[in-house]
Symmetry: C2
């Protein structure tokens, strides 16, 4: 990490280095431009209209969100090309909220069942106010249909009057060591297959969308027209462990203060599971890394305590302020209300995490 914390930050705090952030945004945008694939960054990572605007200015086509609530926040901030990459089921107030959103723009929504498609068609003033993208399962086995099943679902969406804009997938099984190349190949092969089946049935798929940060470049082949990475703007301990990012690419950290060293071999910091989140894949031990303490590991978490295992590292003084690189930045960001924005080692701004809590 090439940046440092300014003095006087109240901890725990979420701190962005603006220069690293800008470099990450530019790097992904220029790689996508070079290979001729559109970039539609997933803004669930940062939930910040300011950062999404930087991504669009760098060449992003539009934004990807995970919920109707996130779509509303970004629409209210002037974004008019929004893909809700989620199998949205518009019950309760979601039907009227989707209607309001579709009245002001034409959002795209993921669909992987005829039941949800029917509910979506019924929720909006006219079904063609919405574009639906058929979700495909490319190997994560979370949601999405098999390529063979895409044709039936697309035809039935068409019968409901919905505009079928194409297909999408998320190769989330890329989040294991050495898994990214195979997951990227799974994504592009699954998408290609579905496009072929659809073409044979007379259905065109203008949008063919893949993406995760580990697979964003490698899956941009074949018929893929668009990538949706999210985490690349910030990076985190998972991306470092996967080799997707290097320490100089880490743009965000949680600033924390050493509050207790009463137990030998351990420094307790004021960032626990309510500041770092508890996400921990089975291939990663601990909950964060502390560059100021020789990359010591946050070995355990309570809600407001992080237990840093010092190893050979000397015990820091009570009051020492350190940075923590969390395992998964998307869920850590989701715990804070704003970013402290740093540039050249100085605090320059504070940005609200505007879509935090807009889960529904």
């Amino acid at each position: 990490m090439l940046w440092s914390l300014p003095d006087g930050i109240d901890t725990p705090a979420l701190v962005i280095d603006l220069d690293t952030l800008s470099a990450n945004i530019d790097s992904m945008a220029s790689q996508m431009l070079a290979i001729g694939v559109a970039l539609r960054p997933h803004v669930k990572t940062h939930k910040s209209p300011q950062i999404a605007r930087m991504q669009i200015n760098a060449g992003g086509r539009g934004v990807t969100v995970a919920s109707l609530g996130e779509a509303e926040v970004f629409a209210a901030s002037g974004f008019d090309d929004i893909f809700i990459a989620y199998p949205l089921y518009p019950a309760g107030s979601k039907a009227s909220r989707l209607r309001a959103l579709a009245g002001g723009m034409r959002p795209s929504v993921g669909v992987d069942s005829i039941d949800a498609a029917r509910a979506l068609a019924g929720a909006v003033p006219a079904p063609d106010c919405l574009t639906v993208l058929i979700e495909l399962d490319s190997g994560q086995h979370r949601s999405g249909v098999a390529p063979e099943a895409a044709v039936d679902l697309a035809l039935r969406c068409g019968e409901l009057g919905l505009d079928v804009g194409g297909v999408f997938t998320h190769g989330g099984h890329s989040y294991r060591p050495s898994a990214a190349a195979a997951a990227a190949a799974d994504e592009s092969r699954t998408l290609d297959l579905a496009v072929e089946y659809l073409a044979a049935a007379g259905v065109t798929a203008p949008t063919v969308s893949a993406g995760s940060t580990p697979t964003a470049i490698a899956s941009a082949v074949g018929r893929v027209t668009e990538e949706r990475p999210g985490t690349y703007v910030f990076n985190d301990r998972q991306q470092l462990a996967l080799g997707t990012a290097k320490p100089r690419d880490v743009a965000v950290a949680v600033a924390a203060t050493v509050v207790s060293t009463a137990v030998g071999g351990q420094a307790v910091i004021d960032a626990g599971s309510k500041a770092l989140a508890s996400d921990r894949p089975d291939w990663l031990s601990g909950h964060g890394a502390v560059p100021e303490l020789g990359d010591a590991t946050v070995a355990a978490l309570s809600e407001c305590h992080g237990m840093v295992r010092l190893g050979a590292q000397p015990t820091p003084a009570i009051g020492t302020v350190v940075r923590v690189v969390p395992n998964h930045i998307c869920t850590a960001v989701n715990l804070f209300d704003y970013y402290e924005v740093v540039s050249g080692g100085q605090l320059v701004d504070r940005w609200p995490i505007a879509a935090r809590g807009h889960l529904s």
Copy 2:
């Protein structure tokens, strides 16, 4: 669980059953009254002045909080007996904020180092605006000093002009199967020992405070004057697994909608790690239980997807609304902005989670 969800809840949502909540609050208060020990509930669980008021009305002496920010929220809501059970280090704006808090009331603050004690004494207008409680390590090995070290720390706090109000500990090692009885004994033995050492040095300890939900009753022996349980108001999947609570004691659940059943044997709900939190102790598998689906387990989480493993359970219809009992309710609550309050199966109120995000 003896309660059910009303129709029309927008998911994911955090839902309280008011009747179960009231019963839990009354049960703990009357048990504490019966054994003659004061109850100072830890409000980091719910972060809600409404619920804290119910706890005080039932006989609670005051509240326990985990951060200065939480103390500020509860002070602004009229609570005037607040213990910050945390080794607070008042740097940055925390010094002036602590001064402002101590100007309006006399908060108690945990301390386990002379460095923090010195900073606390320097932060307030006069050191005797604060009461400090010496934190003891009773076996969790997180923070706190050994009973033998309490005397030196207490004497040095006294030299700084700080009012030493007593001792406290948290037997967090109670959070393992069959560990509660031994952890409770560790708490009371450690506190007793420290009180004896202090008495021998001429230091009185009016407050002798223990507590966690699993140990709240069993540790209320010997010289213990006060208990600080938090989770008992709501309970969660951990408390069920530990045997501290029964299903009828679970007062809060996350309401979620089945959004995808495209992958066989699995129902995907719209509550992921951003609604349930990822906390999972190594003695518990999965991330939540779904009573409406035969107590099926949320086997895996993405940020906005929960993957429910159905087993022999029939596949639910897309759009089915279910409850999830999260592993750890304190971190799940911390993800939402308000509670939907239900009584007799009807939605009766919405309460803000006022101290959410007040980490620092």
